[in-house]
Symmetry: C2
Subunit: 751 residues, 2 copies
């Protein structure tokens, strides 16, 4: 390998740190106006009126839109059921619901005028818990009821298996809502014309295009979505970008002026999806030798007011709840529920962090009960190549879980511990598997283009978005490797929906794997042209040619070389294609809808983490002393990128496990700002050491598997296990904050 696997700085790093990268909010167009949304402010009720008179009187206001002004179906979302309006028409289902859009000459005027819009709502008693929602006589939040989706996974015979078990552990675990907390809040800028151009900070441009067109009542071909540089998304810029994208385009059409809508931080928290809060009842039966024979899990997900991606998250929790273990008898039921709270949807990990926390907590409890070492019990039960997993799917290769356990096992012990009784120390372990690709959630297709210019420079386009995760660098490396050029010769552009096949959403750790395959395929086609041309130039057969270091080289004589730019120029003038648009489709999922037995994902990323913590008994403060994160990524494309992904995802898991809690009172979020909602900052960074295991995946480019999500789950779970080890108390709810720990330590001290 010439470039794959070599430390490579982000190809877009320089533009980001020098301020050259253009974010949506950086765009300026003549005549541009600004939009701001008026929100309901109450969690449930019937909208009886919108009075915009005062708003219209404010200096600079040019337009006020309500639901009646939407030309199309007034619906947004990413997947069925599309149950969410752009602007509320009748029902108010959560406090952050958008009711009116104000357009003004400046953002400040628009905000002031939005505040001046008067909204009349006949309030209902809000449904604020899953139990309230599921009560038999509960008010229906949607016509279909209060269950978004409920699914079962059935493998083997769960009840007889529990009867044979030597030990059984049972428990209920809970996790809180989590905010994505990206640097850049949601922003769009619509430019009207014969066709609309929408610049967007977004995650899934093709979804946006579809919704914008529908809401404009215009053909999709009349809308072009261009992803601007995007300051993070983590799943959070899906539904909301279809909402503000549609609003901006509708306003732009009415006014024939460009329209910018940029969320304030508060709106980004209350008015776009969060991670699902979850309640997980889990029961595990094992033999005295540690072998797990049965697991039963009930997952309840609080999805808030709208479906958003609850169906995907429901499926993900269903498939992943039993953990990365070979267990003959598994029963899972996963249900997502509507409540009158901010809607929940896509968030890095997609429900896997919630169920992994429950599963891995209980694995530790089981180990303790059986007196078996915690890594050993994971070794005993961990999936190996050839084992059927919870859906009965068998992989013959790229199942590197055991190697991640052994890598963790051989890491050095923690630093010396003080004997001061102010501190207690603990070590946790957690294993995880996370499916790669859309899998159960739908078809997984991606388009990518690779274009070589006559000067040998390469331009890569793709339908998936760079959100900061480093995917452009991955694509640049893949194209460079295939074409035998330097990575600096390759530019990867952001998504332009005109130029590439609809590639669905950028989710599910699919960029490197499925996206990478598309780039690989397109680059290989261009390579074929170059090799054909070089063979003509050398007057030899194609198999004697290799592309390397920017040259076409005769294999038998390294000194016989032609610069690739000359080959590219000749190829163009000879009529060999030097551009290709590839369509890449992951192998189909194929499973039973009732039992969810069958083939679901094209691969899994497997991981094992260890975390050493020191807890201050006087303050509850936790120091993470060591954090080892071993993941089977199939093949490392860019070690630096992998490190970034593992460190970032781990810190996000750490935030979920230790710091972040959305606080509601009467259906209103109380801490919709970063002063009151604690998110890990640079000061909270944990000392993550990334360990790569490479068990090649036949469905990925050069064997690679995605790695952007799995560490979230493992890090959250390993934190809980390390804390339990340190303080001797098993916490069943995330986050486990400093206060929770202090309370527990004191309780224990008191007892």
């Amino acid at each position: 390998m010439a470039v794959i696997g070599k430390q490579t700085r982000k190809v877009d790093g320089l533009e980001l740190i020098t301020g050259q990268a253009k974010f949506t909010g950086d765009y300026r167009f003549p005549g541009m106006v600004y939009g701001a949304v008026k929100r309901a402010g109450v969690p449930a009720g019937r909208l009886t009126g919108v009075d915009a008179e005062a708003a219209r009187a404010i200096q600079g206001v040019v337009d006020v839109l309500t639901a009646a002004d939407i030309p199309g179906p007034n619906l947004i979302g990413v997947l069925p059921p599309f149950d969410q309006p752009l602007l509320a028409a009748n029902e108010i289902r959560y406090a952050g619901e958008s009711v009116a859009l104000v357009i003004a000459e400046t953002a400040e005027e628009a905000r002031r005028a939005a505040d001046a819009v008067s909204v009349s709502i006949e309030p209902y008693e809000p449904i604020l818990t899953m139990d309230q929602a599921l009560a038999p006589d509960a008010r229906k939040i949607h016509e279909t009821g209060n269950v978004t989706l409920s699914k079962k996974l059935i493998k083997g015979e769960i009840e007889p298996a529990f009867e044979t078990a030597d030990v059984i552990v049972e428990g209920t675990f809970e996790t809180s809502f989590q905010e994505h907390a990206y640097l850049e809040p949601e922003t769009v800028c619509a430019v009207p014309g014969r066709r609309f151009t929408l610049y967007a900070s977004c995650q899934s441009p093709f979804h946006i295009r579809g919704h914008v067109a529908a809401n404009l009542n215009a053909p999709a071909s009349s809308v072009k979505v261009i992803q601007a540089s995007t300051g993070g998304s983590f799943g959070g810029k899906d539904d909301v970008a279809t909402e503000i994208g549609s609003l901006a385009c509708i306003a732009a059409q009415r006014l024939n002026r460009p329209v910018m809508i940029a969320h304030e931080r508060k709106e980004s928290i209350i008015g776009s999806n969060l991670r699902h809060a979850a309640r997980i009842r889990i029961k595990t039966g094992a033999m005295s030798d540690g072998k797990i024979v049965a697991r039963q899990i009930h997952v309840l997900l609080d999805g808030g007011a709208y479906a958003s991606e609850s169906p995907f998250v429901t499926m993900k929790t269903l498939i992943h709840a039993a953990g990365p273990y070979r267990i003959e008898n598994v029963a899972v039921e996963s249900t997502s529920v509507y409540t009158n709270k901010t809607y929940c949807g896509a968030f890095r990990g997609f429900g896997v962090p919630q169920v992994t926390f429950a599963s891995e907590s209980q694995i530790d409890e089981l180990a303790e009960k059986l007196g078996i070492d915690r890594l050993e019990i994971r070794r005993i039960n961990g999936l190996r190549a050839g084992d059927p997993n919870a859906t009965g799917q068998v992989y013959d290769q790229s199942v590197g879980l055991l190697e991640t356990i052994e890598e963790i096992a051989k890491q050095p012990a923690g630093s010396e511990q003080t004997t001061d009784d102010r501190y207690v120390y603990g070590t946790g372990y957690a294993s995880v598997a996370q499916g790669i690709s859309n899998g159960a959630e739908g078809v997984d297709v991606t388009g990518a283009s690779v274009q070589m210019s006559q000067d040998g420079s390469v331009l890569v386009g793709i339908g998936l978005t760079e959100l900061g995760q480093g995917s452009r660098t991955v694509y640049a490396l893949i194209a460079a490797e295939v074409l035998g050029v330097d990575v600096d010769s390759v530019s990867v552009r952001l998504v332009d929906t005109d130029a590439v096949h609809d590639s669905g959403p950028t989710v599910a750790s699919r960029s490197t794997t499925v996206g990478g395959m598309a780039v690989h395929k397109a680059a290989t086609e261009v390579r074929t042209s170059l090799v054909s041309m070089a063979a003509l130039m050398f007057k030899t057969d194609q198999e004697n040619i290799e592309l390397r270091d920017g040259f076409a080289i005769l294999k038998m004589d390294d000194s016989a070389r032609i610069p690739i730019r000359e080959v590219a120029t000749a190829a163009y003038w000879t009529g060999f294609p030097v551009m290709n648009l590839a369509f890449s489709k992951a192998p189909d999922a194929n499973f039973d809808d009732e039992t969810h037995q069958g083939n679901v994902y094209i691969a899994y990323n497997y991981g094992t983490h260890r975390m050493d913590v020191r807890v201050d008994r006087r303050t509850g403060e936790v120091d993470v002393l060591n954090h080892f994160a071993a993941h089977d990524v199939g093949r490392v494309i860019n070690p630096l990128g992998l490190e970034g992904q593992v460190e970032g995802a781990s810190l996000m898991g750490f935030g979920l496990a230790h710091m972040e809690r959305i606080r509601y009172a009467d259906g209103i979020i109380q801490n919709a700002n970063f002063a009151d909602y604690a998110v890990p900052s640079i000061k909270d960074r944990i000392p993550t050491t990334t360990i790569a295991v490479e068990d090649p995946n036949p469905t990925g480019p050069f064997g690679a598997k995605g790695a952007g999500e799995p560490p979230v789950a493992a890090a959250a779970a390993v934190f809980a296990n390390a804390i339990a080890d340190a303080v001797g108390v098993r916490f069943t709810r995330l986050p486990i904050t400093r206060e929770d720990i202090l309370d527990a330590v004191r309780g224990r001290d008191d007892g």
Copy 2:
């Protein structure tokens, strides 16, 4: 056919007439500055200094660039030899030469400051005629000498053939320079960033990209050229767009601000290429029965100061000089020459109008000498399927010349003629053939993309430019026909170099034929997906499905139909590609470089025109009473578009033949404005009747051949022949102006 061949209004007509179409000059970006060029003002000399002090002192001026400020090779052009600088470094070769670029806050300030730049030039004696240039002791305008290219075509044995001939006619014909005179002068707007975006009124975006990148000393992948709506080009926005595009990008890079450069009309005339003036010596030998046995032609083309596309034009004249006739013995020599005048290059027809005027004038002279009817002599000699043409190429089909002659023959006689001796009446005939595709000039490849969205709307992208000729409508019709949808469902976007294969220049009547094939190919791939999906939905075989009227329909039961939007949605979710990027390559040319015998073009458009004129003996004023233009276009894609092309091209030929003359004095153009340079306006419109002959071309979509150029040549030639018939004087020089006619009539009256 559902839509092909039906009268279809231009798909971009509405945006053009409502002012929605965005031309380059309509773009505005924050911080945008404007560029204006200082020109040499003398036709030849050595540049000794540029003093910009006074210019820099002018309010609003932010930068002045000279040749020393060009990061790259300071070269522009469309094809080798690239002999033209962006900004003159040492030599001044024509008066319009760009010497310095001034950038200012407003266009007016930039223009004023450019005028204030002081240029020191040691003048040379300018070379202002081809004879001066070709004199043995002539100063060399370029290091390579004063001949740009000289080529020979040799078929048979010319001298013995002349000896056998019963009659020989000989003559020398001349044509003048012609200005393209598009509505919108050349304009570019460069936006800097990590990658450059250049919006341009242009003809060949990939050429621009290559030159801009080279002159920036940056990879081509860092430059994105987007064609803005373009108000005409006719070949005129090739070289000059690479010049001002490079200048704008270099300035934008220096200043990190967007830069607009828009030519004034004067600059558009003196500073960008014209049609070559030509001198053609032609000799034809025939038997007494009218059969032509030999033709010998010497073509001299005045190419002005730089090569530009002189090599292409030289080749075109070489191949076309003998006319659309089967002649066993042909010798052509074609030579383009440098002079110290505005450079000449691409112009609708590419030299064919010049040689066709000479050839068709002489055919009439021959007919007269032999006493044979003028249509009959064309019938006798006209190419038929199976005949070898001047290069020995034989077409088995799509040689519809004789049909165009018969169509012309059966048109009604002209309206009744007055007996008043103030007027004389005449009728002319002319036949033409014009090669389709790049042919002898290079590889002919085109990329096109067809993307169907889930709502069934279609977006077509292509690497060739819409310049007003109606190509977007042609592509929309082709895609609609293949996909079975309404033409309104199809959007055709302007070129974006990122999104499509380098498709070379938009020249040589290749859009409909070669471009159309690319669209056809891409659409057919999408169709395959739709048919596959529909077959699954109907649970039948693919051959039972047809796509029509926006539905997938069971052939055996017309009522069994599924809307194509539903098929498209299902195809996406099932994983069938609904976008394709096609690469289309015309069959290779293959000929001998010394004799130019072999296969050159993929097809020829053949045409015959008749024109009836009335000449006012007192004023020289000409009224065109009738103009019939019959062309074999293979297959009519859009009758309305064909009419537009034939009418527009004919009027351009009429301008060349009757009105347009660039006047030089001491190497300076004297009439660089539309008050002094007469170009046909709406008042000069001639009553063209378009007659389509359809002899299907196997290399074109649905059999189509391009039609944008051939009528220029035929109309110019037919005008000359009609005037000769009316006034009884054979004019050997174009234009034949009203004054020329008056002089001739008077001379005759006097005699």
